[in-house]
Subunit: 312 residues, 2 copies
């Protein structure tokens, strides 16, 4: 049996802006997607999380109505189809968090499938190759998307992404994080941001350029382990994400209350419409998050990236 | 007896940015400060609102400990001192709202004092003169401050202010507004904004330039009576005011909830730290404001500016 451990990730700065060629910073946390690949006479995919709860899918007779399930399955199927050799396999996926909250579970499924199925076939892939293939699959399924999630989860640690540039950053900082219920999809949020671009182009560019400035300053602050500066930049970035229309009342209240409680920094993280939040490491932030109905996750940085473990 | 009616005002766009030479848009609402000037053998100032509640001040024996009271009285006293002729008067001030919530009550006291006391002395002043004198008094008492409040309340209607430029705008739009309890002072908020300027200069300029773009776009939208565009610009401006650190949880929650309820636009208005909010005209916004503990005010535009009425 082959077991693959994929770290989930948080976006620290630049989400949404990264879609429009601005830089972003992300890092992998200490929550992991587990994928298990077992010999089988047929193709099977199962997961009790990731919205394919209780579904046992036989790929040969593949017909699913639910869009969310279809999407997760598409990632896996495209991951398998990438390889010419077709060797039946049973894939079991275990997720510590709900899908689609901005923690990179979709990218994790792709990266895990590519790393695990290639290994199952006896093919050795470098991390560079895993990241590249995974991103191409994500593009094929989604139509668009930055390399941020697939590359970050493959390599692990703090990363700075700008167009074709992918740079690992070194930092001792740690964070508190969690997530709230989402009220709509990332696709809907992407559309909302695009509408501002179409209706108010100059203003839109001005907002994105300001986010880019935040990210560039955060890159330095992160490497300097300057938590005060990182915190301030988080609140500033959150305001601009409010301007882009991707925040919701519950999260705005949480971020604003954290600021009032003197938490150094907090912001929404990822696609928006609810979902993940990230703060400088602070027990008060975790307390507030729980008190307001969110779920705390282990946001301690992890540095190993995707790991393939062969069990006998 | 001379009665002076001074309209209060709301800032629609560009608060705080206006302190740093960017443009702003404000307008006078249908809430009025009333000042009454009566013949007297001594100088007396009284008001049951404006934090001089129940205080009857004899200016000759002027000694007040409370800073807030001192400030309001300073405006009146400097207003009187501006004129060489000293003729004793009893001034009674009536305010429909609490002071210091961002509705321009301080400027209203100055404008009302200058307009009323000059009239009481038999001096005819043009609106241009009233505005100019009032602003000079505000500067003397506060040390700094934009001409926005004094000029807007003197002339009335919608106004666009940019450095030395003061322009009246024509629009048919109307708004909903109200205010929440403030948690700290405008001075504290001004300091917070200044700190961002000092610590992150380039980023600060980028935020203020973005606000300037919003205001310039809003000027056109306002004149075109384009409520959809004005609404979007209000939310965008609010996000940037969040970035500047002048919002509080209660207000962020109100603005974000209004957006979720499909109110076209809403933002914090004025100095921040609580205080006034303004939305596109919408009963749902007024309902939410009341439900969340705020006080609704009559935000219908007024166009006459300061009015001196002579009663016999």
């Amino acid at each position: 049996m082959i077991e693959v451990k994929v770290p989930l990730k948080l976006t620290l700065f630049g989400e949404h802006a990264v879609v429009y060629e601005r830089p972003a910073i992300a890092y992998t946390i200490s929550e992991f997607l587990m994928l298990r690949f077992k010999e089988s006479d047929k193709f099977y995919i199962k997961s009790d999380n990731l919205q394919i709860k209780g579904v046992r899918v036989n790929i040969d007779e593949f017909k699913i109505e639910n869009e969310n399930i279809k999407r997760v399955l598409s990632y896996i199927i495209e991951g398998i189809n990438y390889f010419e050799a077709k060797k039946p396999v049973e894939i079991e996926i275990e997720s510590p968090v709900e899908p689609s909250v901005g923690l990179g579970t979709s990218a994790g499924v792709v990266v895990g499938t590519v790393a695990g199925y290639s290994s199952y076939l006896g093919i050795e892939l470098s991390k560079e190759e895993i990241a590249k293939i995974s991103h191409s699959i994500e593009l094929k399924v989604q139509g668009l998307g930055s390399r941020m999630d697939t590359y970050t989860e493959t390599f692990g640690g703090f990363v700075y992404i700008e167009k074709d540039k992918f740079e690992k950053l070194s930092s001792n900082l740690t964070f508190s994080a969690g997530y709230f219920r989402r009220v709509t999809t990332t696709a809907e949020m992407l559309k909302r941001v695009k509408q501002i671009k179409e209706k108010k182009r100059e203003l839109f560019d001005s907002i994105l350029d300001t986010i880019a400035k935040i990210t560039i300053e955060a890159k330095k602050a992160l490497q300097d382990n300057d938590e005060d500066s990182i915190g301030e930049l988080m609140y500033i970035n959150h305001g601009l994400l409010f301007s882009l229309g991707i925040t919701v009342p519950q999260i705005d209240e949480f971020i604003s209350t954290s600021r009032m409680a003197n938490v150094k920094g907090c912001k929404i993280s990822g696609g928006g419409a609810g979902g993940a939040v990230v703060c400088t490491k602070d027990e008060r932030a975790e307390l507030l998050l729980t008190a307001m109905g969110g779920k705390v996750i282990n946001a301690t940085p992890s540095f190993l990236g995707v790991q393939v473990i062969r069990r006998t």
